[in-house]
C-alpha cells in the first residue's frame, strides 16, 4: 500500500474519531435525572403575604396634611408577611419553611421553589400555607391522596383565586 493511501486512511481515521467523539457526547451517555421508579414533587409559588399589621383609619386632620393624591382613608403598613409553607408526605414533614417577602422594604411577593424526587405510587399529601403573621397556625390547608407514575410531576402551588393551595 502506498504511503499516500496510508496517509489518507489515517486522515479519515482522525476525522472519524473526532466525529465519533462529538457525535457520542452530543447525546450520550443518557443522563438519569430521576430513578426509574421515581416521580418528582415540586413546590413553586409566588404570593404576596398579608400586611404585617392592621390598617388604621386616618383622621380628617391627618388627611388634610397629606398631599391630595395621597389622601387614602386607610393607613396600612407596607411590609408584608413571610409565607410559611409546610408539606407533609405520608405523614412525614418534608418542608417547613418561611419564605421572606421580596424587596428592600419587604413589601414584595414571597416566592419559593423546591424539588424533591419521591417514589412513584400512592401518597398522602398535606400542604399548609400561612401568609399572615398575625395568624397563628395556617391560613390555607389542603390534603390529597395522589397516585403518581414514574416520571410524573406533582406541583404544589398557591393561588388565592383558585382557593389557595393547589395540588396538581
Amino acid at each position: 500500500m502506498s504511503a499516500s493511501v496510508l496517509k489518507y486512511a489515517g486522515q479519515g481515521l482522525a476525522y472519524a474519531a473526532f466525529a465519533a467523539f462529538v457525535g457520542y457526547f452530543a447525546t450520550h451517555p443518557l443522563y438519569h435525572h430521576l430513578g426509574p421508579d421515581e416521580a418528582l414533587l415540586r413546590l413553586s409559588f409566588k404570593h404576596p403575604g398579608q400586611p404585617v399589621g392592621e390598617c388604621r383609619q386616618r383622621t380628617a386632620e391627618e388627611l388634610a396634611k397629606l398631599p391630595p393624591q395621597l389622601r387614602t382613608p386607610l393607613d396600612c403598613p407596607r411590609e408584608r408577611s413571610p409565607v410559611r409553607v409546610r408539606v407533609e408526605l405520608d405523614g412525614r414533614v418534608v418542608y417547613d419553611e418561611a419564605f421572606p417577602p421580596a424587596g428592600l422594604r419587604r413589601d414584595g411577593a414571597a416566592s419559593g421553589y423546591r424539588r424533591l424526587p419521591i417514589a412513584a405510587g400512592r401518597h398522602d399529601l398535606k400542604v399548609a400555607f400561612n401568609d399572615d403573621v398575625r395568624v397563628s397556625g395556617f391560613t390555607h390547608e389542603r390534603a390529597a391522596t395522589v397516585t403518581v407514575a414514574p416520571g410524573q410531576v406533582i406541583l404544589i402551588d398557591f393561588s388565592p383565586e383558585r382557593g389557595g393551595v393547589v395540588i396538581r
Partner: protein
C-alpha cells in the same frame, strides 16, 4: 572568541531543546499530525481558524433554521419537527449541522485554549490574547444552552428548569423564574421571541469577542487550510446524516423524563449541579474562569526589553510595521518635522522582542560604515551591531562556515567547531539577508540559515518572512549577485537537532566540492545617508 551567541534567558523562553513536559507532549502530537495531514493542513496547528470556521457553519445553518422557526409556544416544537421530518434533506440536515458544528466549535475552542496553555503562550506580551479569549468560553456556552430551549421538547424543558434553578442561586435572581417552565400557561409567545433574540444576540457578542481576541496579532488566520475546511465540513455532514438531531416528546410540565440524551459539551454543568449544589457549580466554574483570566499574572515570565527605534536611522519605510506579527509597530509622524515623513514607533506592551523588525529594517545592513552600527529599529538585548561584531570576530579567527539558527528551533549550539560559528537569535528573521552577503564577502565559505518549520514558528510569521527574504520574494531581499550555492536555508524544529547536524555536514561536503570562495570579494563598508 564567541562561537555561539544566544539570549534564551533574556527572552524568557526555553533554550533550544529545553521544553516543559506538557509542551513536549503537545509538540509530539502535532508532529505526528504533521506526518498525517502535512504541516499546512494540520488541524492541531489551526484550532483557532477551525473555531472560526465552525462558528460560521453554526451561523449559516442557524439562519436557515430561523427562516422556518415559529417563535411561539404552540408553534416552536411543531415547526422544528416539520423541518426535521418533512425536509430531512435540507432542514433536518441543517438542524443536525447546527448542533454538531456548535459542539465541534466548543471542542476546538477548548483544545485551542489547552494547546496555548501547554505551550506557555498565555503570558508576557501574549496576555491580552489570552485574557480576551477567556470570556468567549462563557459566550459559547450561553449561546448553546439557550439554543436548546428553543426546540421546546422535554429536553428543552429540563434545560430551562435546570438553568433557572441554577440561576436562582445567584443574587438578584429569584426562584420565580423556574415557574416559567413548570406552570401550565406561564410561558408566553413573547418569551419565545426573547429566547430567539438572546440566541442571536449572544453569538453577535461572541463574534465581537472573537474580533477583540485577534486585535494584537496581524494577518490572523481565520480560515483553515482549504483541505481541512472541506474535510471538516464533510465530516460534520456525514455525522449529521448518520446521527440526525431529533426532538424528544413536546414539553409537558406534568412530566419529568427520567433519562435524557444530554449534550455533555454544553450541558455538563446541569448534572454537576444536581450532584452537588448550584452554588458549588457556580463557584467551580467561576473560579476556573477567574484562574484562567489571572494566569498571565500568576505564572509570570521575564519580559525582554522591547525593540527600540532610532529616529535618526529610521527612514519611515514601514517594513517593520508590515512584518511585525503582533501589531507592536505603528507609523507616526517623524520628529524631524519634514512633511509626510514618518517613523516607526514601538508599542512596548505589545512587543514580543522577536527581532523580526530589526531584520526587516533596510538600515540593518552590516555593510554600513561606522564603528558602531545603529539601525532604524533594533533589539537592546541583541543589537545588529553586536551580531556584526561577533560575525567579524568569527571570520577573523578562521571560521568559514556560518550558521544562523533560531533559539526556538533545533539546538545549534553543539554544531560550533573549529571551522564553524553558530549564532542563535530569538527568531531567524532577525538576521537581515545582507548578513549572508557580508559573511561571504568577508571570507566565509558558506552560510546556513536554520529556520523553524513555517507552521511551528514561535513568533507566527518569522520563519515565513525569513524564507521569503532569503528567496528574494520579500524586502529586504538577498541580492541576486550572492552565490546561492553557498547559502542553505533549512527547516529544523526543536526536535530536529540531529537532522540539522546532518544538513550542516551535507552542506560542508557541498562547500568542499565547490572549493574556496572566489578571491577578491572583500567587505567594503559604505556610508549611508544618515552617516555621511
Amino acid at each position: 572568541m564567541e562561537a555561539w551567541i544566544s539570549i534564551p534567558a533574556a527572552l524568557g523562553a526555553p533554550a533550544a531543546g529545553e521544553t516543559a513536559a506538557p509542551a513536549r507532549a503537545v509538540r509530539a502530537l502535532e508532529r505526528a499530525f504533521d506526518r498525517l495531514f502535512g504541516a499546512a493542513a494540520n488541524p492541531l496547528r489551526q484550532l483557532g481558524a477551525l473555531a472560526f470556521w465552525f462558528f460560521w457553519l453554526v451561523a449559516a445553518s442557524g439562519i436557515y433554521l430561523y427562516v422556518f422557526f415559529d417563535t411561539s409556544v404552540a408553534g416552536a416544537y411543531e415547526s422544528v419537527e416539520r423541518l426535521t421530518r418533512e425536509q430531512w434533506y435540507a432542514g433536518g440536515l441543517m438542524r443536525s449541522l447546527h448542533r454538531y458544528a456548535a459542539d465541534a466549535f466548543l471542542v476546538v475552542t477548548v483544545l485551542h485554549l489547552a494547546r496555548e496553555l501547554a505551550l506557555g503562550r498565555f503570558k508576557g506580551f501574549r496576555w491580552f490574547s489570552w485574557v480576551s479569549g477567556v470570556p468567549t468560553l462563557v459566550l459559547i456556552l450561553a449561546a448553546g444552552i439557550v439554543g436548546y430551549w428553543l426546540v421546546w421538547d422535554q429536553l428543552a424543558q429540563f434545560v430551562g428548569i435546570a438553568v433557572t434553578e441554577w440561576a436562582a442561586a445567584l443574587p438578584g435572581f429569584g426562584p420565580e423564574m423556574v415557574r416559567n417552565f413548570i406552570v401550565e400557561g406561564a410561558i408566553s409567545d413573547r418569551f419565545f421571541s426573547l429566547l430567539v433574540f438572546v440566541h442571536i444576540a449572544v453569538p453577535l457578542f461572541l463574534l465581537a469577542a472573537m474580533w477583540l481576541h485577534l486585535q494584537r496579532i496581524t494577518r490572523a488566520r481565520t480560515w483553515p487550510q482549504r483541505g481541512l475546511l472541506w474535510g471538516s465540513l464533510a465530516m460534520l455532514v456525514a455525522l449529521s446524516l448518520a446521527r440526525p438531531a431529533v426532538s424528544l416528546a413536546p414539553a409537558d410540565p406534568a412530566l419529568a423524563p427520567a433519562a435524557l440524551p444530554l449534550d455533555w459539551f454544553y450541558l455538563f454543568a446541569l448534572p454537576a449541579m444536581y450532584a452537588s449544589s448550584p452554588a458549588l457549580v457556580w463557584l467551580a466554574l467561576g473560579g476556573a474562569l477567574v484562574a484562567l483570566g489571572v494566569l498571565p499574572w500568576i505564572v509570570r515570565a521575564p519580559r525582554p526589553p522591547a525593540a527600540r527605534v532610532s529616529a535618526a536611522n529610521c527612514n519611515g519605510c514601514a517594513r517593520c510595521f508590515a512584518d511585525c506579527p503582533y501589531a507592536a509597530v505603528v507609523m507616526r509622524e517623524h520628529p524631524d518635522g519634514r512633511p509626510g515623513k514618518r517613523m516607526a514607533v514601538v508599542l512596548d506592551d505589545l512587543c514580543a522582542a522577536c527581532g523580526i523588525c530589526a531584520g526587516a529594517c533596510p538600515s540593518s545592513t552590516p555593510f554600513r560604515s561606522g564603528e558602531r552600527l545603529v539601525t532604524g529599529i533594533d533589539m537592546p538585548q541583541l543589537p545588529i551591531d553586536r551580531l556584526r561584531a561577533a560575525l567579524e570576530r568569527a571570520l577573523a579567527t578562521g571560521k568559514r562556515l556560518i550558521v544562523f539558527a533560531c533559539d526556538h528551533g533545533a539546538n545549534a549550539r553543539a554544531l560550533a567547531s573549529a571551522d564553524l560559528a553558530a549564532f542563535g537569535v530569538p527568531c531567524v528573521a532577525q538576521v537581515p539577508p545582507s548578513f549572508v552577503d557580508y559573511a561571504l564577502r568577508a571570507g566565509a565559505a558558506g552560510v546556513l540559515v536554520a529556520r523553524c518549520p513555517e507552521h511551528d514558528c514561535e513568533f507566527r510569521l518569522g520563519s515565513r518572512w525569513a524564507a521569503e527574504r532569503f528567496a528574494g520574494r520579500r524586502e529586504p531581499h538577498l541580492r541576486a549577485s550572492v552565490p546561492r550555492a553557498r547559502l542553505r536555508v533549512v527547516e529544523a524544529a526543536r526536535e530536529d537537532a540531529g537532522a540539522l547536524a546532518a544538513s550542516v555536514e551535507a552542506f560542508r561536503a557541498e562547500l568542499a566540492r565547490l572549493g574556496p570562495p572566489p578571491a577578491g570579494r572583500r567587505v567594503k563598508r559604505v556610508a549611508t545617508e544618515q552617516e555621511s
